[in-house]
């Protein structure tokens, strides 16, 4: 091998390592921002008008409205504001013209479908599952990275080896460990139905991560996220929340509640913060999945099950002073397990030892 070729090989290896490292950083950062977004949306939905709705309920809202209509409205407002942030980011980067062009392409339409499945459909399934079965569904929805990796194998023939599956299993186990902390001892009467519905959420998020990650190979990630947040936000506001209100028997209520939410200065400014983090959560999730493949990207993003409780403890517990946000010690064990799991998916640990032997 000539010295020139050797230098080219070194340069190529450096570019390849940098690309993979950036992909892992971006995918993991999506988990960190997911934790921040969770903490801030939880904070927003505990202040101002929400404090009464979820507390003394002087507004006399029905239990159905509090559970389903408010949950879907909170999520829809957050996504819609996130779409506003995404529009600004795309405009600043001079990419706004690509939005209309992209939505007319097949990958653009694929992103719309992925957004509907992962946004309103999975979010509703999660909320309904939580109500019917309790927090036992949290570990079930943690299966979404494994589902995403399997779907990517089936749809796009992405690599999925026994070592990667082992790594994914470690990550899922770590998330289950955290989720089990929230499981109540008493069984809910509709537990089985709740678990089935929650499985729809796990499948939906796995589907979204896999499909949207692939579509982001065709569509710029700044545009992909603008499509995602616009579809998730507007479909929540225009379809999902009114649908829940209709089922609850008072469709007009949704307009009144939405009006209260957007004019409430106690909580609305906090939605601006949560929606900002939601933008980077999903943008980096899509980008990380497209750069690393669904198996690695979704496992890195799955670390949100550690970052979520951590930021809830830091922001809601330590800074705001709300009770009940202490971080269980097992979360730290789970974080170490997740790191090991991600390592197994990304590289063959045996290669690290082999390299050391050569050195």
């Amino acid at each position: 091998m000539s010295p020139v070729t050797f230098t080219a090989t070194q340069a190529r290896q450096k570019v390849g390592s940098k690309y993979l490292r950036n992909g892992i950083i971006i995918a993991t950062a999506s988990g960190v921002t997911y934790g921040l977004y969770t903490a801030f949306i939880t904070l927003a939905m505990s202040m101002g008008v929400w404090e009464d709705w979820y507390g003394p309920n002087l507004a006399l809202l029905s239990l159905f409205t509090i559970t389903y209509v408010l949950g879907s409205l909170g999520s829809a407002v957050n996504y819609t504001l996130s779409a506003v942030w995404a529009t600004g980011a795309a405009a600043v980067k001079g990419k706004l013209r690509d939005f209309v062009r992209s939505i007319k392409t097949k990958p653009g339409r694929t992103l719309v479908i992925a957004s509907l499945v992962g946004g309103p459909i999975s979010t509703s399934a999660y909320v309904i599952g939580l109500q019917l079965a309790g927090s036992i569904i949290i570990p079930i929805t943690a299966l979404c990275p494994a589902i995403g990796a399997i779907l990517a194998r089936i749809f796009y023939k992405q690599k999925l080896t026994a070592r990667m599956l082992f790594g994914i299993a470690i990550c899922v186990l770590a998330t289950v460990l955290i989720g089990l902390q929230a499981v109540e001892p008493d069984a809910h009467p509709n537990m089985l139905l709740g678990i089935i519905i929650a499985s729809v959420a796990a499948f939906g998020w796995g589907f979204e991560g896999c499909i949207a990650g692939y579509a982001t190979a065709f569509i710029d990630d700044d545009i992909a996220i603008l499509i995602r947040q616009s579809v998730a936000g507007l479909s929540g506001l225009i379809i999902l929340a009114p649908l829940f209100a209709l089922i609850g028997g008072n469709v007009g209520e949704v307009v009144m509640l939405a009006g209260r939410i957007v004019t409430d200065m106690g909580s609305f400014p906090i939605f601006f913060i949560s929606s900002f983090f939601a933008l980077y959560t999903f943008k980096w999730w899509y980008k990380g999945n497209s750069m690393c493949g669904a198996a690695l990207g979704m496992a890195c993003n799955g670390t949100f099950s550690f970052w979520g409780p951590l930021f809830c403890w830091l922001i809601l517990g330590l800074i705001v002073g709300q009770d009940g946000w202490a971080l269980p010690p097992v979360a730290w064990v789970a974080a170490v397990l997740m790191f090991i799991g991600v390592l197994f998916i990304a590289v063959n640990p045996l290669m690290i030892f082999k390299k050391k032997e050569v050195a």
Partner: protein, 89 residues
């Protein structure tokens, strides 16, 4: 109507045997040169992401006279079929 930039980059590989970032930028400069996103970093990112997702494959690499690394890519038959499926004429 113009294609989105990423789609235009991948569509090129339906007719090109092989190309690096510089070839891609040359081909698209007239139409997309005014876009702020039309940079080497951006084009490189699209090409490498397409490899991760099995749309393109790397054929070779070399250092040019300035010591700049050029990675060449192509779409094999399956890749061309995928591009055609997602971005038909």
């Amino acid at each position: 109507m113009k294609q989105p930039l990423n789609c235009a980059i991948l569509k090129l590989f339906k007719s090109l045997d092989e190309a690096c970032y510089a070839d891609v930028m040359d081909k698209l400069k007239a139409e997309y040169g005014d876009m702020r996103a039309f940079t080497r970093k951006g084009v490189d990112g699209v090409l490498m992401t397409a490899v991760t997702n099995g749309i393109l494959e790397e054929t070779r690499y070399e250092l040019d006279k300035n010591g700049d690394l050029k990675i060449f890519y192509r779409a094999n038959d399956e890749g061309k079929a995928t591009i055609e499926k997602y971005l038909p004429h």
